[in-house]
Amino acid sequence: MATACNTAINEEQRPNHVGAAAVAVQQLHKSYGSHNVLNGISLSVNRGETLAVLGRSGTGKSVLLRIIIGLEKPDSGSVCIRGQEIAGLSVDEMGEVRKKMGFLFQHSALYDSLTVAENVAFPLVHHRREMPRSERDDCVNRLLSEVGMEGNLSKMPSDISGGMQKRVGLARALALEPDILLLDEPTAGLDPISSGEINELILKLQRERQMASIVVTHDMHSARTIANRLALLDQGNVVIEGNFEELQKSDIAFVKEFLKQS
């Protein structure tokens, strides 16, 4: 029987949405008061693909991720996850959609009253209730060793570094074997070596699991390393979308300035 923690993806278990992107957002608008954060964004990501969303602070990159996972509602526009429109879904239906999505928060958002192992086990405890304790512990060990955090099971989140917290957050995001991975500033606040390690880790997971990933980042180096495609946002709109070479060839002043400053 396949468990939630199998590192390798069981291809037969994946629903086949022929022609449907793993994540597709269309004409997404979101404003807070008079401030328009998202101004008609349209993006899509397919399985096995990593899209990096870049842009200045306050251009709505994190808001985009929060809307995709349903933590915030858009003012208008549509969000389709594996071909299913999420607007109007009930709490339970949205829960089913979220089970196939992993989210790494910018500040990791680990549960500070739980140990590292309990943090990773948290989704399993609530969604794999029938799973025996020993099997769950094996899963947690496997996930933590996958992100290079074996041997830190009983530590509290406050006792580990920011980079280690990101790794634990990533292990927690992977616990339910998601098809879609959303990463909010995975290298923010980390030293270059830790950033490089996180990038390597994300690449390795992508190779092994073939998820659809959206990475929000300021870090152009990180984006180049881990993403197949890049989308540059300005004033709530996608200014340009393509690979790094396409961005480099662009004549758009904002794109040139952004690349120059990064």
Binding site: A109, D112, R129
Partner: protein, 283 residues
């Protein structure tokens, strides 16, 4: 300062009654804003309560978290509630003995103590203490989780935070308040009798027999079980304040303070209604 002239078909009329309007408008706006914010608060509380109820009655049920919260609300509050009950018992004993002696009604002492503790002081004192200890704890804990995105992380993990965090805490408060009240009552009666016994020996058996003489369940059960309503109020307000927090450390502090202040205020206000209700229905 005069306002603009009014242009009409009959010609330009001079501004009239501008001064009182200018004087009143800012005050009226401020009052309206306050009234509006109060209605908004109750509206948000209503929406929050509906989400909690809907989450609480649908599976999966979070039994493990409920047990943890029963321990947190019940066992952890027990020493404090018992100690406060003990102090109240002594105070009532001293006051009652002095007052009753003046009217030559010393024989009424046991009944006075029993009724005062069980019907009046025990429930309200337990409600206020739990509001202080548990309300601030829940408010601060959930607010801290909110500002550090831990509640968002729970939701992103496809777990309903209203079910896991709010419903369990509110239910624990509802279930534990009557039990804590019983503990406070027992503690108060024991120390009240003990304080009396130091001055004028009275056997515990005599004290209980005399205190509960002619008493019915209706005299004691409703005041004890009305504290379940206090639990509902304390738990709901603390969870609401915590889960709707904004603004970092300051927001956490504000949520904790508001949980205690509003929780205590609504416990006292609800007591007015509950006492009247009990008097009408059970007596």
């Amino acid at each position: 300062m005069s306002g603009p002239a009014i242009n009409t078909r009959e010609g330009i009329l001079p501004p009239i009654c501008e001064q009182p309007r200018d004087f009143l408008t800012p005050h009226a706006d401020a009052v309206l804003a306050q009234v509006n914010s109060v209605f908004e608060w109750f509206g948000s509380l209503g929406v929050f309560s509906w989400r909690v109820i809907r989450a609480a009655v649908t599976p999966p049920y979070e039994w493990r978290e409920l047990v943890r919260q029963l321990d947190e609300v019940g066992s952890m509050s027990l020493p404090l509630v018992a100690l406060a009950g003990a102090a109240i018992g002594v105070v009532i004993s001293l006051e009652a003995r002095y007052s009753l002696s003046r009217f030559g009604a010393k024989s009424m002492f046991p009944a006075t103590l029993v009724y005062s503790v069980i019907q009046i002081m025990g429930p309200i004192m337990t409600g206020l203490i739990v509001s202080g200890r548990v309300g601030s704890g829940i408010g601060a804990e959930l607010a801290s989780m909110k500002v550090t995105e831990q509640i968002d992380a729970i939701e992103a993990s496809a777990i309903n935070p209203y079910r896991l965090l709010a419903a369990t805490r509110i239910l624990a408060c509802i279930l534990m308040l009557p039990l804590l009240t019983l503990a406070a009552d027992a503690s108060g009666l024991l120390t009240g009798w003990f304080a009396q016994n130091l001055v004028e020996p009275l056997s515990f058996h005599q004290f209980i027999e005399s205190g509960f003489k002619g008493a019915t369940f209706n005299a004691f059960l409703p005041p004890t079980f009305k504290t379940a309503v206090y639990g509902l109020i304390i738990g709901t307000i603390a969870c609401f304040q915590g889960m709707s927090t904004r603004g970092g450390a300051e927001g956490v502090g504000r949520a904790a303070t508001n949980s205690v202040v509003l929780g205590s205020l609504f416990v006292i206000l609800s007591d007015v209604v509950l006492v009247k209700f009990i008097l009408v229905v059970f007596h």
